[in-house]
């Protein structure tokens, strides 16, 4: 199970990468493996704001649909258009080309509510 150490993780299995004031969000390798083949990712339009832990979209796999939760509060500035054409990027490259959206982070203080890789690994029991 791949769990990159440079990322922050939420208990709802999203990851957050920090690039100055911009956050990049996706779901973890564990999440995609639990969901199975992904057929559609429902993401918000640019400009929407969400609070930490709020549902920002959903991911539709062959057998199930699962909500997506914000790892940190912020405003959507870009979504990954490549997922419209090939949603299985989330399965195949969850931490890189399978990213979901970029946000303007509201407050980095909320980072303390997220887990480092080692802690996240414990929560998923691998």
């Amino acid at each position: 199970m791949n769990i990159p150490t440079e990322l922050y993780y939420s208990k709802e299995h999203t990851w957050l990468k920090i690039e100055s004031d911009i956050g990049i969000i996706g779901i973890t390798d564990f999440a995609q493996s639990e969901l199975g083949e992904i057929v559609y990712v429902d993401l918000p339009n640019n400009g929407y704001t969400f609070k930490q832990h709020e549902v920002f979209g959903s991911v539709e796999a062959l057998k199930t649909v699962s909500d997506l939760f914000m790892p940190i509060s912020g405003k959507v500035i870009e979504t990954n258009k490549a997922l419209l054409k090939d949603p299985t990027l989330v399965n195949n490259e969850p931490f890189t080309n399978g990213w979901m959206m970029k946000i303007e982070i509201e407050s980095k203080e909320e980072l303390s509510n997220l887990l480092p890789a080692a802690e996240y690994q414990k929560t998923i029991g691998v």
Partner: protein, 257 residues
């Protein structure tokens, strides 16, 4: 007109024969088959040939797609290793049983059938798929979020969408109208002839009735009847037990799960 829709026979010849007897007595105007003719029982060739003999327009199910290509993958999205192991026995058995001509038929089945009615100076699109319009093996269960189901139907321009794959029949009416104007869409899972999973071991199919007043504006103007029929479940279950297929498949037929 009355349109009979059936699917998910899964190589169960006694169930298919009982279905034909039942549907013939009702004398529909058209019959369509929504796929998954093979897998999980011993009569894949016989089922293909009975459907071909009757020249029934048929689309491919995920199992037909896999077996048609001699694949060891049926797109079944099994959850557990045990299910996968049993599934692999079925794929391997079906691949070894399937004859060339019948396999070729499976390989050439279309993915979708679209039927456009022109009634009341408007169009009414009936879309037939196996799993969903976007994936042959997507499971559209009854509890699918309305937003998701509507998006799938809107993107496919389907006013009435009929599908199988989950083996659990249901009919949902969703309204995608805007500005106070109704646009009712019907999502219909037609159940399974030969491997029902709704705890009722009887075979199942759907009769869809389109009248000259049928319209997207009136949700009652399209009628759906879920028909169940008896068949010799024991013969089908015993055939599984007398074959290399896992005995659990026989139990599933007897108890409908």
């Amino acid at each position: 007109m009355n349109i009979a829709l059936f699917s998910d026979i899964h190589a169960n010849l006694p169930a298919l024969e009982a279905f034909f007897k039942d549907v013939d007595a009702r004398n529909p105007d058209a019959i369509y088959c929504l796929g998954d003719l093979v897998g999980y029982n011993i009569w894949p060739n016989e089922v293909v040939n009975e459907i071909r003999k009757r020249k029934i327009p048929t689309i491919a199910g995920n199992y037909d797609f896999g077996i048609g290509r001699m694949s060891n993958e049926c797109g079944c999205a099994y959850k557990t290793d045990h299910e996968k192991d049993n599934g692999n026995i079925s794929i391997s058995f079906t691949n070894s049983t399937m004859k060339d001509e019948e396999r070729k038929y499976l390989r050439t089945l279309p993915a979708h059938i679209k039927v456009e009615f022109q009634l009341n100076e408007d169009k009414l699109n009936l879309l037939l798929v196996h799993g969903s319009p976007r994936k042959i093996n997507e499971y559209l269960f009854e509890d699918r979020e309305e937003k998701s189901m509507l998006r799938i139907m809107e993107q496919a321009d389907a006013d009435i969408m009929c599908f199988g794959h989950t083996h659990k029949p249901y009919h949902r009416i969703l309204n995608s109208g805007i500005d106070g104007q109704n646009h009712f869409r019907h999502a219909i899972n037609i159940g399974s002839v030969g491997k029902p999973k709704d705890t009722n071991p009887q075979g199942g199919y759907v009769m869809l009735t389109i009248n000259d007043n049928s319209s997207i504006l009136d949700k009652e103007s399209i009628q759906i009847e879920f028909i169940r029929f008896n068949y010799d479940v024991e013969t089908a279950a015993k055939a599984v037990e007398d074959s290399p297929l896992p005995n659990e498949f026989a139990d599933m037929l007897r108890r409908g799960f």
